[in-house]
């Protein structure tokens, strides 16, 4: 298992905005005379608090990568403001405290893994006396120690992703930006990365990441934002959103048979006999009282009542108004970065 950072304390409970954008916009001018305008990001306002794992969702061209590039000062905003750790982006203080893994990272292929980490470590401001041990440590933790003298042109995609993560955390960052980190990884690589993100977060690192694999994102993030065509459609706490989006309630009753509850057919969406239990799926707006009364009258008892929560994928498709079953360019398994 990867374990790329140590020495940080437990997750800080005090919440403070670590990443903040206010009306952040990016317009590209295209064409020979640069007269055509294309809006890549429109007035993005959001904030990410300390210790969060923030998931950034959106189909192709939504503006996710544009947002990350703006925060990493790879491109300049057309308007708006953004700050990281309380400093305006571009402030020299910011980038010694953040780590960044670009989408499909590419590194100097003439360097070895060890040379790359030493070089980027020096640029990140890692003190010379600690650099060699830090590089060795990271190479070991990333499972690349044996390949440390291999030029990066000989690295597989998974190995490049791991060296990318190692360079992103070389300076013990307080905030980590990951752009489509699960892209192209096999199931083992995805699981390792998930564990690494969780571990870093437990150590207090705030993580801001975009992903096209919604199931991974759902299992990791506390808060999310959905971006579509450069505009923010929704953002908030994942738990609250999933509860809010819940439209069905599951009632499980014991000591009762399906035939005894047939009078409820008009009320429930689905009724299933499982052993000596009956499972009712009830629309949220429907009255539960009649179900409870009917079950008790038949000599049974209610065992559980709980809302059936939708998946993040369902929430996502509802937000961008694309039916999840319909064939589309957007799919939960295969969206590439924007």
């Amino acid at each position: 298992m990867l374990n790329l950072q140590e020495g940080a304390g437990e997750c800080n409970q005090a919440m403070a905005a670590v990443i903040e954008t206010i009306g952040l916009s990016k317009t590209y001018r295209t064409g020979f005379w640069k007269r055509k305008k294309g809006k890549a990001l429109e007035s993005l306002t959001l904030s990410v608090e300390e210790g969060e794992v923030f998931g950034f969702l959106g189909p192709n061209g939504a503006g996710k990568t544009t947002t990350l590039k703006l925060l990493m000062r790879i491109i300049r905003p057309t308007s708006g403001e953004a700050s990281i750790l309380g400093y305006s982006i571009g402030h020299p203080h910011v980038y010694s405290q953040v780590g960044y893994l670009p989408e499909q990272p590419y590194f100097y292929d003439y360097l070895t893994a060890e040379e790359l980490l030493s070089y980027l470590g020096r640029l990140s401001g890692v003190p010379s006396k600690h650099l060699a041990s830090r590089v060795t440590d990271l190479l070991k933790r990333a499972g690349l120690f044996e390949a440390r003298s291999l030029q990066l042109r000989k690295f597989s995609k998974g190995m490049l992703q791991r060296i990318g993560l190692a360079q992103a955390v070389i300076n013990d960052p307080k905030v980590l930006f990951l752009d489509e980190p699960f892209s192209g990884l096999d199931p083992i690589g995805r699981r390792e990365l998930r564990e690494m993100i969780q571990q870093l977060n437990r150590q207090g690192v705030t993580i801001f990441f975009s992903s096209h694999i919604l199931s991974d994102l759902e299992s990791l993030c506390n808060r999310y934002a959905i971006l579509h065509q450069g505009r923010l459609l929704d953002s908030g706490k994942l738990e609250e959103a999933l509860d809010r989006e819940s439209q069905t309630i599951e009632v499980v009753a014991g000591g009762v048979r399906k035939e005894e509850a047939l009078c409820l057919e008009d009320l429930v969406q689905d009724m299933t006999q499982i052993g000596d239990r009956v499972r009712f799926l009830v629309p949220r707006e429907a009255g539960l009282t009649r179900i409870v009364e009917t079950v008790e009258r038949a000599g049974g008892k209610i065992l559980t009542i709980h809302p059936v929560r939708p998946s993040l994928e369902e929430v996502f498709f509802r937000r961008i108004r694309v039916p999840s079953a319909a064939p589309s360019a957007i799919s939960s398994a295969g969206m590439s970065g924007s």
């Binding site: 491109i75 980038y95 010694s96 003439y110």
Partner: protein
């Protein structure tokens, strides 16, 4: 310090780049050819070796300065390796300066190796080392200063243009710059005020590469051929001019680079 790390990495990249080795091979072949040619020119063997050797130093240096110079930054943008640099606590002008110094270091190593090859050829002809061989060094320094300016031009053009156009612009200016003094002569001869103004403007605006060779009379390169050194004032003037022009070009490149988006 970060500038030096970037310069060091650029040097390492250049050394591991096969193009550089090819150019050095071409230069060694030229010096070898000069040795053969020297055998045929009775009494002028050493002069021919120095002349062809210095021309090789200059030509290969300019080719490296232009073709590696234009890709210094462009390659980093195209391959997106620049993402890993600008997201670190490194300013864009530090990056640009580091890349520039890295290529200069490569050129310095290249020029030094070739000068050593010329010395070897001279010892071969002369039968022993002679301290007067060192008199070719001032001309070598002038060539290096010229290469500094060509590198700055390449970097300046590549900060806003495509690699092909940058190469065309840089090579055109390098050629035009060698005839820069002719613009002044045209201005003096011209009867049209517009033509005179244009010629004078071009004379002052374009980099004057003749400062590094034919401007000195007798020229530094010619003197080197006879193992003579130029006047110190010629060297100082050329260095002052080259340094000032280079600083202006780098400042302009940094200004453009600072506002640029890396897509």
């Amino acid at each position: 310090m970060k500038v030096l790390w970037i310069a060091g990495n650029t040097f390492r990249e250049n050394i591991r780049d096969k193009v550089l080795y090819n150019l050095v091979t071409v230069a060694f072949l030229l010096v070898g050819g000069a040795l053969l040619l020297g055998e045929l020119s009775i009494g002028y063997e050493m002069k021919i070796i120095i002349d062809i050797g210095m021309a090789s130093v200059s030509l290969t240096g300019v080719l490296i300065a232009v073709f590696i110079g234009i890709s210094l930054v462009q390659k980093e943008i195209e391959k997106r390796t620049i993402y890993n640099i600008v997201s670190k606590p490194v300013s864009r002008h530090q990056f640009l300066l580091g890349k520039f110094l890295g290529l200069l270091f490569t050129l310095a190593v290249n020029v030094s190796l070739m000068v050593m090859a010329i010395f070897a050829a001279l010892i071969y002809l002369n039968g022993r080392w002679d301290w007067s061989f060192l008199n070719i060094l001032p001309a070598t320094l002038l060539i290096f200063m010229e290469l500094v300016l060509v590198t700055a031009l390449s970097l300046f053009f590549s900060s806003f243009s495509t690699p092909v156009l940058s190469a065309v612009f840089t090579l055109s200016l390098w050629v035009a710059g060698h005839f820069n003094n002719d613009f002044l002569s045209f201005a003096k001869l011209s009867k049209s005020p517009v033509a005179e103004f244009t010629c004078r403007l071009l004379y002052y605006l374009l980099p004057n590469f003749s400062n590094f060779d034919s401007n000195a009379a007798p020229t530094a390169i010619q003197q080197a051929g006879y193992l003579q050194t130029p006047e110190p004032v010629v060297l100082l003037a050329a260095f002052a001019y080259g340094s000032l022009y280079t600083v202006l070009l780098l400042a302009a490149a940094a200004g453009i680079f600072e506002r640029r988006d890396f897509k």
